[in-house]
C-alpha cells in the first residue's frame, strides 16, 4: 500500500496540516492546492447529499457523507467529524476501506497530540512533531 499525501481541514477551509510521503507530481502552488482540495470536498459533500436517493437527512445533519473516491491512479479517503475537522488521505487505488484507520488517526494522533496541546490555536495551521511521528507510526503499523 502506498500512501501519497494527507490533509487535515477545519470547517473554515483552513488546512491545519499537510503531510506527504511520496508525491511524484510536484505541486506548483501550495495555497491553490489546498484551496482546490477543500473546494472539491465541499462541493462533493453538497452534491452527494443532494443526489441521495434514500430518505433525506434533517437540515442540521447531512446524514449522507461521502467516504472515498477512486480513480485509476489514486484513491482519496475522507472522514469528516461533526466538529468540522476533516481528514483526507490519498493512497494507491487498490487500498481497501480506510475509514477505521482515519478514525484511529483522529482519536489517537490528532486528539491526543494536537487538541490537548495548550499551544495549539484552534483554527490555525499547526506543526507538531509529536503528531507527525504518531501519524507515521500509525501508517507504518497499518501497512
Amino acid at each position: 500500500m502506498t500512501y501519497y499525501a494527507f490533509y487535515i481541514f477545519n470547517r473554515q477551509g483552513v488546512c491545519l496540516h499537510y503531510q506527504e510521503w511520496s508525491r511524484p507530481r510536484t505541486v506548483r502552488n501550495e495555497m491553490d492546492d489546498r484551496k482546490m482540495m477543500f473546494g472539491l470536498l465541499f462541493s462533493l459533500k453538497a452534491f452527494v447529499n443532494k443526489l441521495d436517493p434514500t430518505s433525506g437527512g434533517s437540515e442540521m445533519s447531512g446524514q449522507c457523507s461521502f467516504q472515498s473516491f477512486r480513480t485509476n491512479k489514486y484513491k482519496l479517503h475522507y472522514l469528516e467529524n461533526p466538529s468540522g475537522i476533516s481528514l483526507v488521505l490519498m493512497t494507491d487505488p487498490l487500498t481497501g476501506d480506510l475509514r477505521e484507520f482515519l478514525r484511529h488517526v483522529y482519536s489517537t494522533c490528532f486528539t491526543e497530540c494536537v487538541v490537548k496541546n495548550p499551544f495549539y490555536q484552534p483554527g490555525q495551521p499547526f506543526t507538531s512533531d509529536q503528531f507527525a511521528s504518531a501519524l507515521n507510526k500509525a501508517v507504518r503499523t497499518h501497512l
Binding site: 477551509g13 465541499f42 437540515e59 467529524n81 461533526p82 482519536s107 490528532f110 486528539t111 487538541v115
Partner: protein, 187 residues
C-alpha cells in the same frame, strides 16, 4: 425517547483516563481564587473570564468527546441536549444530568445536576455571593456546541452554593449555523 445509537454513560466513561477528583476540584478552586485576586474581587469580571476559559476548553473538548464516544451527528437540539447530559457530562465530570423545562419551540432547555464535583468543599463567602462558580461549565457548553454549528447561550440558573437545591444550567439555542464556502469565488 433517545435513539438506540447513542452510547450511554458507563460504556463511554471507561476508555477516558481519569484523574483524582480532589485534584480536579482543588485545581478548579485555585483557578477561581486566583482570578478573584487578579481582578481584585470584581465578581462580574471573574464570571466573564471563567466563561471565556470554559469556551476555550469547550472548543477543544468537543474533539476529545467525538473521538472517545464515536457519537454520530445529532439530528436536532433535543438529541444534542440528551447527549450532553447523559454522555458528555458523564464522560468528563462523572455525573450525569437530566434535561427538563423545554420551551414550546424546543430551543431552550435546562440541564439539572444533583451533584457537581467542581464544587466539593466550597462555601461562598458573603462578598462573593454573585459569583457564578460554575461559569466555566457554561463556557464549555458554548464552545463545544459552536464547533458543531450550534450557537447557544448558556447561563447558570440554580446553584447549590447560593442556597438552591440543585445545579441548573439553562441552554438557549440562538441559531444553527450552516456550512458556507469560505473562499470568495473570484480568488
Amino acid at each position: 425517547m433517545p435513539p438506540a445509537r447513542i452510547p450511554t454513560g458507563p460504556v463511554t466513561f471507561s476508555p477516558v483516563e481519569k484523574i483524582n477528583a480532589e485534584l480536579f476540584t482543588l485545581t478548579y478552586g485555585s483557578i477561581v481564587r486566583q482570578l478573584l485576586i487578579d481582578y481584585e474581587d470584581n465578581v462580574e469580571s471573574v464570571n466573564v473570564q471563567l466563561e471565556k476559559m470554559g469556551y476555550n476548553i469547550g472548543v477543544r473538548l468537543i474533539d476529545e468527546f467525538l473521538a472517545k464516544s464515536s457519537c454520530s451527528r445529532c439530528n436536532d437540539f433535543r438529541e444534542t441536549a440528551d447527549v450532553i447530559a447523559k454522555v458528555g457530562l458523564k464522560m468528563f465530570l462523572g455525573v450525569s444530568a437530566s434535561v427538563t423545562n423545554w420551551n414550546a419551540e424546543g430551543t431552550e432547555c435546562s440541564l439539572v445536576m444533583e451533584d457537581n464535583p467542581m464544587v466539593d468543599f466550597v462555601e461562598l463567602p458573603e462578598q462573593y455571593k454573585n459569583l457564578s462558580y460554575c461559569n466555566m461549565l457554561c463556557g464549555v457548553f458554548r464552545g463545544a456546541l459552536e464547533m458543531v454549528n450550534m450557537k447557544v447561550e448558556s447561563t447558570c440558573v440554580r446553584d447549590m452554593l447560593r442556597g438552591h437545591d440543585a445545579y441548573e444550567f439553562r441552554l438557549r439555542l440562538l441559531e444553527v449555523l450552516q456550512d458556507e464556502y469560505p473562499f470568495k469565488d473570484d480568488e
